[in-house]
Amino acid sequence: MKKDILREADYRYNFDRDIYFNRKAKKAFSLEFVDDKPEEELERRIRESTNSAGWTFYFNSTPPEGVKRELERVLG
């Protein structure tokens, strides 16, 4: 199950924002993304390395800069 894949990769669920996040990996997956994408893609995205120093957001619709900034603030 997708939830188990995320849990095993140390992703926690932010109930308020409906996103799975991992502070160490600095990645966040929206609930919509997790629901819509197949498990294989989710696993691939969890594994892939990101060059960015900031957070990487996996959303169905690219989040606007203002939304990214707010989520970065919330996720810390």
């Binding site: 849990r7 926690r12 669920y13 932010n14 109930f15 308020d16 924002r17 409906d18 996103i19 966040a28 929206s30 609930l31 919509e32 993304f33 957001f57 959303f59 169905n60 619709s61 989040p63 606007p64 203002g66 939304v67 707010e70 989520l71 919330v74």
Partner: protein
Amino acid sequence: MAERTVEDRLREQYFSLLPDIRRVAWQLETEIRFHTLSTLHKLKHYEKLVIKPRIKECESAIQALRRRQEGGTFDQEKPENYSLLRLPDLAGVRVLVFPRSILNEVDFALHSHFSLWTPDPVPDGMGGALAQKHIGHCAAVSSEIQAEYQIVPMLIGLYWQVEHSAIYKPAPNVKALRDKADSEPLERLNANVVRALLEFEAEYERNLKD
């Protein structure tokens, strides 16, 4: 002067809509009471039918709209993207029934009257419906404001009142719950409670028939 946020604009919209939201809730409650009268009049002493109107509060409506956005966050640069009229439940009525066998009768009576409303059943996780929910407009009062009515087994509905206010609503703000509300033990226990309540009702009804 500080710039108005999306939330500020939505608060203004809420209070301009509030008189109509109230009218929709009154209308819906009245229609539902009328169309369930025949069930109410033949209830046995142990059977229950309780009708509760509800108006979504301002902050609750704003938070509900925010959580409908992907990532649960408003884009403060695009306030025009947001309207509380997108919410399906600014006004609502919950019909609580016991035992569960009354649920179908009430659902049928109301569905006949609200035939244009869209069904949105609450899944029970086993391919069935835990509760019935319908979304639509009270056209006589407002063509803009969406309302919903739910028909819920009373034991489940009363449990939800506690569970929602204890876990679902404070979770964003209560540190201890914030990252744990979706945790496996709570989820499992919640499912066990729901199953136990349903089994209690099923057994109760079986005993009545014997």
